[in-house]
Structures are given as structure tokens and as C-alpha cells.
């Protein structure tokens, strides 16, 4: 795809040069050299090298804060996604966080010869089946358990999701050979690996013959919903677990035990601004008896990003964004920060393991996935 094609597809030419994007950009706040407006301007002037050889091209969090307020309706994150593919062709790439382990694993998984042992976490009486119409997409959680030197909590969220589904009488299909959805590959410009992963996942889902897929990871959900249709056919109903829970609660109510917590909810970019799901998770939290939900200063459409996306260009600037978000959560007086994205959780927990001598402000707060909160309240002998 050439730069002209990208400009056409993302409607960059509608840019009014107003600078709202830069004003809203969480990255620009801490890195004044980074400006979405200037990026677009460079593209419109045809300065392709200024774009592809700009290291900050990989600093964008693709959080959609800019596009949500753009008067010209320019799709800046999509522009970044495509421009990164151009940069990759020119041999440029971002600084991969955790040395690029996550990206390497995704590339290795895209190999058709791989046969994984990805279901060894299944235990505690979690029931899955091979016949159900409903599938649960696990994603990268089994890998996340071992990549980081702190507890990522990702696999606990998967277990909690299964507990919830089991409690609702669903024994979902969980495929032993599903692959990474390819989200990080697509957003770092490696379209070829993404296509291979998508094709593989589409093939095994077709073979499993399921009609509905439930996700606990918003990145997987977004990728299946928005990006897969451009490459493969997935003729399934797709649902995030918060939507599923909100529906169930509205239909017949679920029996929850009391939860004595004061919580605040962090909207993951993928679930919030990307897909517009703000109310369902809040409805689920409100349905828990005894819980108090307080909102942060920036919430829903104005929510701040957790600071890193696609494990690329994680630097002092993204650290600062995370610390600010955690301080905002603490300022509400809540004892628990609830989110529904495993990666937001990883980035927050990472920010809290500040090993430096200068610890900075106290950002310690309990971070928990929405599904863990719900699963704990469901009883079933799985209480905390």
C-alpha cells in the first residue's frame, strides 16, 4: 500500500490542521516532539521518509483519543497502522518492549507446523466441551503467565471467565490449537504475520463449527470484529464477556454474594473508544450488591490509555502515562482498579513494580479484571 492509498483510506486529506489531535494525545503531553498533526502534515506533503524514518511513528498508542474528537473525522490510528507497515518495508521498527518476546512468540505461532500445549492451565473443575455452539477465545494468556517477572493475572482472568460461563450453564469450546489473534502484529505493521494468524484461526474456528465466540480480551475481540473481516470470513456472533454478563443480568439476574469494595473502572481503549462499549461493564459492576463504583476524572470517551500498546516503544513517556492513570485511580478513594483488558492489567502491574531507588509517588492499588470481580461474587465455592 502506498502513502497515497493510505491517505485516501484514512481520509487524511480532511485534516484541518487544527491540532486537536495533538492537544488530546496522551503521548504528546509528555513527549512534545511527537505530534499527530505534524505526522499527518508530513504525509500530505508527501514527505514519506519523514514519516517512515520517524522513530515516534511507533510511539502512538492507537488509543483513538485523537480521532474521537477530530472535526475532519481522520482515522489517525488506522493511518498509523498502515504507515507502520510502510516503515517496516523500509526496515524501520519500533523498540519492542520485553525485548520483543511477545512479537517473536506471535511470529512463531504463525508457523503452520506448531502444535501447542496451551490448555494445561485447565483445572479446578472448569468444564469445556467440544460440542457446544459457543466458543471461548483464550488468546495469549497462557504465554503471558510466563513472560513477565511479575504476576500478570491474565490466566486468572481466563479461568474466571470460564467459571462465569460454567455458572451460566455454558460449557464452551476452547480450542487447543488457537493462535494469537495477531493484534500486536497488525498494529506494528507486520501484516503478513497477521494474515497468517488470521487464516489459521479462521480455519480452526470453521472446523469447530461454533456459532458464537466470547472473548475476555478486548484486543482479540476488536481484532476479530474489525480487522478479521478484511482478511478472512468468521461467520460467528462475537461478544465480549462484559456484554454477555450484562445481557444475562438484564434477562434473569445472577445470584451474587455481597462485595465489599469501592472500585473504579478503567475503560480499555479497545473496548471503549474502538468499539463503544462503556455501559455494559458498568452495568455488571452495578449489579454486584454492596459495591460502590466511583468514576475517575477521565472516564468513558475521555478515558486515558494505560500507556502502552502492542508492546512497542514503551519508554519513560508511557511510564508517566501509567503512573498518572494510577494516581487518578487512587484519587477517587477506590481500593480496587477494575479493568477488562489483560494488557491494561499487565501495564499497570508493571508500572507498580518500580525497582528504581527513587520510587516516585505511591501508585500501589489493587488491579483486578472485571471477570475476577464477578467470578468471586458468584460463589460456587470459588470465593477469594
Amino acid at each position: 500500500m502506498s502513502l497515497e492509498d493510505i491517505i485516501q483510506e484514512t481520509k487524511t486529506f480532511y485534516c484541518l490542521d487544527c491540532g486537536k489531535c495533538t492537544g488530546l494525545c496522551p503521548v504528546s503531553r509528555y513527549n512534545p516532539a511527537y505530534s499527530p498533526r505534524v505526522m499527518l502534515e508530513n504525509a500530505l506533503f508527501g514527505f514519506q521518509d519523514d514519516l517512515t524514518y520517524n522513530h515516534d511513528l511507533f510511539s502512538c498508542l492507537t488509543c483513538y483519543a485523537c480521532s474521537s474528537k477530530c472535526p475532519g473525522d481522520v482515522d489517525y490510528p488506522l493511518f498509523i497502522q498502515k504507515a507502520r507497515a510502510l516503515a517496516l518495508d523500509a526496515g524501520q521498527h519500533g523498540d519492542c518492549a520485553h525485548s520483543g518476546t511477545v512479537q517473536s512468540l506471535a511470529r512463531l505461532m504463525s508457523n503452520p507446523g506448531v502444535s501447542q500445549n496451551r490448555l494445561e492451565w485447565l483445572s479446578d473443575g472448569l468444564r469445556i466441551s467440544t460440542q457446544s455452539d459457543t466458543m471461548f477465545f483464550v488468546g495469549c494468556a497462557p504465554y503471558f503467565e510466563h513472560i513477565f517477572d511479575f504476576d500478570s493475572g491474565a490466566i486468572d482472568a481466563v479461568k474466571a471467565s470460564l467459571k462465569i460461563l460454567n455458572h451460566c450453564g455454558i460449557e464452551p469450546v476452547v480450542l487447543p490449537n488457537e493462535r494469537c489473534c495477531g493484534h500486536d502484529m497488525l498494529w506494528t505493521g507486520d501484516v503478513e504475520t497477521f494474515r497468517r494468524l488470521a487464516e489459521h484461526n479462521a480455519a480452526i474456528i470453521k472446523e469447530a463449527g461454533v456459532k458464537k465466540i466470547i472473548f475476555s480480551c478486548p484486543e482479540g475481540y476488536r481484532t476479530f470484529k474489525e480487522d478479521y473481516p478484511k482478511y478472512v470470513d468468521i461467520n460467528c456472533e462475537l461478544q465480549h464477556i462484559s456484554e454477555f454478563l450484562a445481557d444475562r443480568i438484564a434477562e434473569n439476574g445472577l445470584d451474587f454474594s455481597e462485595v465489599k469494595r469501592k472500585v473504579t473502572y478503567h475503560d480499555p481503549c479497545r473496548l471503549g473508544r474502538h468499539l463503544g462499549i462503556y455501559e455494559q461493564p458498568r452495568k455488571v459492576i452495578a449489579a454486584l450488591p454492596g459495591i460502590e463504583l466511583v468514576e475517575m476524572e477521565h472516564n468513558k470517551e475521555e478515558s486515558l490509555c494505560c500507556g502502552t500498546s502492542a508492546f512497542v516503544n514503551c519508554d519513560s513517556c508511557s511510564k508517566q502515562i501509567r503512573v498518572d492513570r494510577l494516581l487518578e485511580a487512587k484519587a477517587t478513594g477506590a481500593d480496587t482498579l477494575i479493568t477488562s483488558c489483560p494488557k491494561c492489567q499487565i501495564h499497570f502491574r508493571c508500572a507498580m513494580t518500580n525497582k528504581g531507588e527513587e520510587k516516585g509517588p505511591d501508585v500501589e492499588i489493587e488491579v483486578m479484571d472485571l471477570v475476577n470481580l464477578v467470578a468471586n461474587a458468584l460463589g460456587d465455592g470459588h470465593n477469594e
Binding site: T101, S104, L108, N111, G113, V114, E120, Y143, H146
Partner: protein
């Protein structure tokens, strides 16, 4: 079809294992030519990503070789390497790779014969396992 010849990448620490390989060479001890040696200053600097990149590049086995525990030139680099390998093995297991695809071995400077023996054994092990699913024929 000719017999499968595994390709191995060995990260050898500058102070012990690389020197051991030198001793093996100067003592004219024969060992299979399947291994490529990559000298690193310490086994502790071998990141999990280096191993994953090697597997991605098509090597059938990756070996991390360093000084014996307690002998590290940088005090505790080999302990760091041990922790990395333990964690990475879990990842590789989920990815469906056999435990033997990644090997950690302590070889001291004087242990040239042990270095040669280790490579011989590792090649035999990998021959039994067969090629890695990521193997590319270009790597020989």
C-alpha cells in the same frame, strides 16, 4: 534422503565456555560441525528473545553455556541465565517445543573435552527428536 543434521546455536560465555571450546580446538578434540558458536560476555546477557530469535531463524536447538555457579566473572550472571532458561522453557513448552530444544550447560575453561562431549550428545539428542517445526533449510 540424507540423514537429518540438526543445526545448533550455542551462546558461549567469554570467560568459561568459549575458552573451553578453544581448548577443545587446540587440543584437537573432534566434535560435530553442527554447532555455531556465538560468544557473549556472560550467559546472563542472553535474553529470552535471543533464544526465540534463534528458533525463529530455524535452529533446531539452542544451547546457553556459562561458568559453573559461583564461578561467574560477574558474580551472578549465570544465576540470571538459569532463571531466564527456567522461565523460557515453560513458554517453549506451551508453544509445543520439546524440552531439549533449549539446553543450559555449565562448562568451565579447563573443560574442553566436556564441551566436545556435550556437543556430541546434544547433536545425538536432536537427531532423535527430528527437525524443529521452525527449521529452515537455509540454515546449515
Amino acid at each position: 534422503m540424507s540423514e537429518f543434521e540438526p543445526s545448533i546455536l550455542c551462546f558461549a560465555c567469554n570467560w568459561c565456555s568459549y575458552a573451553a571450546a578453544d581448548i577443545a580446538g587446540t587440543s584437537r578434540i573432534q566434535y560435530p560441525p553442527n554447532v555455531r558458536l556465538l560468544r557473549v560476555m556472560c550467559s546472563g546477557m542472553v535474553d529470552a528473545e535471543y533464544v526465540l530469535k534463534s528458533l525463529e531463524a530455524g535452529f533446531d536447538g539452542v544451547m546457553v553455556a556459562g561458568c559453573h555457579i559461583g564461578d561467574c566473572h560477574y558474580i551472578s550472571g549465570n544465576i540470571k541465565a538459569q532463571e531466564m532458561v527456567t522461565r523460557l522453557k515453560k513458554l517453549l513448552h506451551i508453544l509445543g517445543l520439546e524440552d531439549e530444544r533449549l539446553m543450559l550447560k555449565w562448562i568451565a575453561t579447563s573443560e574442553g573435552p566436556i564441551f566436545a562431549e556435550t556437543i556430541k550428545e546434544y547433536v545425538e539428542q536432536l537427531k532423535k527428536l527430528g527437525p524443529s517445526p521452525f527449521r529452515k533449510e537455509l540454515v546449515t
